[in-house]
């Protein structure tokens, strides 16, 4: 009997090119991959699928504003896996009218091999 296929569906994933790069650990990030549905719906711990109801209404540009908070920062990755660096940081929401000032945990990766790429999700 074949094993169960691992669940990887996290809804819409947007690719976004930045007009102004974000400088993180001295490297310029110019392109982002954002799991926007994951951010707004969250994953259910039991079913391991996207929740059906929204928890936030962040847009791609809102997520970019979160990431702009990291500009010119030097952060230690929580994990290294070859060229992939995994980060988790606490960021206060910079988006007015949407949880402004509330602390979120931003979880994202950078890939040193594929320079200028970043994948992200945030969790309140």
């Amino acid at each position: 009997m074949a094993g169960k296929k691992p669940e990887t569906d996290r809804g819409r994933i947007e690719q976004f090119k930045l007009s102004r790069p974000i400088l993180l650990n001295g490297n310029a990030v110019t392109e982002l991959k954002i799991e926007i549905d994951h951010i707004n719906f969250g994953i259910n711990k039991k079913t391991k699928k996207l929740n059906k109801s929204r928890r936030t209404h962040f847009t791609i540009s809102d997520v970019v504003r979160f990431l702009r908070e990291l500009h010119d920062e030097d952060i230690e990755p929580i994990e290294r896996d070859g060229h992939v660096l995994r980060f988790a940081v606490r960021v206060n929401c910079p988006v007015a009218g949407k949880f402004f000032g509330k602390e979120f945990i931003l979880i994202f990766d950078t890939n040193e091999q594929r320079k200028n790429k970043e994948r992200t999700k945030s969790t309140p």
Binding site: E7, T8, R10, N25, G26, K48, E76, I78, V89, I105
Partner: protein, 143 residues
């Protein structure tokens, strides 16, 4: 970077569990000069870790200081440390890094600078900032 949902959930749980230890990105515009100086000093430890691709635990062994202290430093928990402490740790690190040694020399030169006219001091500050910006434009300032 194709993570399964389970892997992602594990990452989220781990981040939530270690929330207090994570770096907190804050607005630096309202920080005191002391805090800004502490952040700048902490930054050198993070840059060293990133450059050498080591973990903070390895850095703690290198400097012979407790891992918890290094974790606080690299996550910018500045209230836990005085400038004096951070400079002391940086001096330990300078034994392993010529860049940090030179940075400390630069700090020494800046500290020993005589009191000058406001315009002259402004001019020097501007030149230094200009040099930093130039360095960043060339990619990795710490490479």
């Amino acid at each position: 970077m194709n993570y399964t949902n389970e892997e992602i959930l594990n990452r989220i749980e781990s981040a939530k569990k270690n929330k207090a230890k994570l770096t907190h990105i804050t607005d630096k515009s309202e920080l005191t000069i002391d805090d800004r100086l502490k952040i700048s000093l902490c930054r050198h430890f993070v840059q060293y870790i990133n450059e050498k691709k080591i973990k903070s635990v390895e850095l703690s062994k290198l400097l012979n200081i407790p891992p918890s202290r290094v974790s606080e430093i690299v996550n910018y928990k500045i209230n836990a440390h005085s400038i004096e402490h951070l400079l002391g740790y940086l001096q330990l690190l300078s034994k392993h890094s010529p860049k940090i040694r030179e940075y400390l020399n630069l700090v020494g030169v800046a500290v020993e600078a005589p009191s000058m006219s406001a315009s002259r001091t402004k001019e020097i500050s501007k030149s230094i900032k200009h040099l930093y910006a130039e360095d960043l434009e060339h990619g990795r300032a710490y490479a």
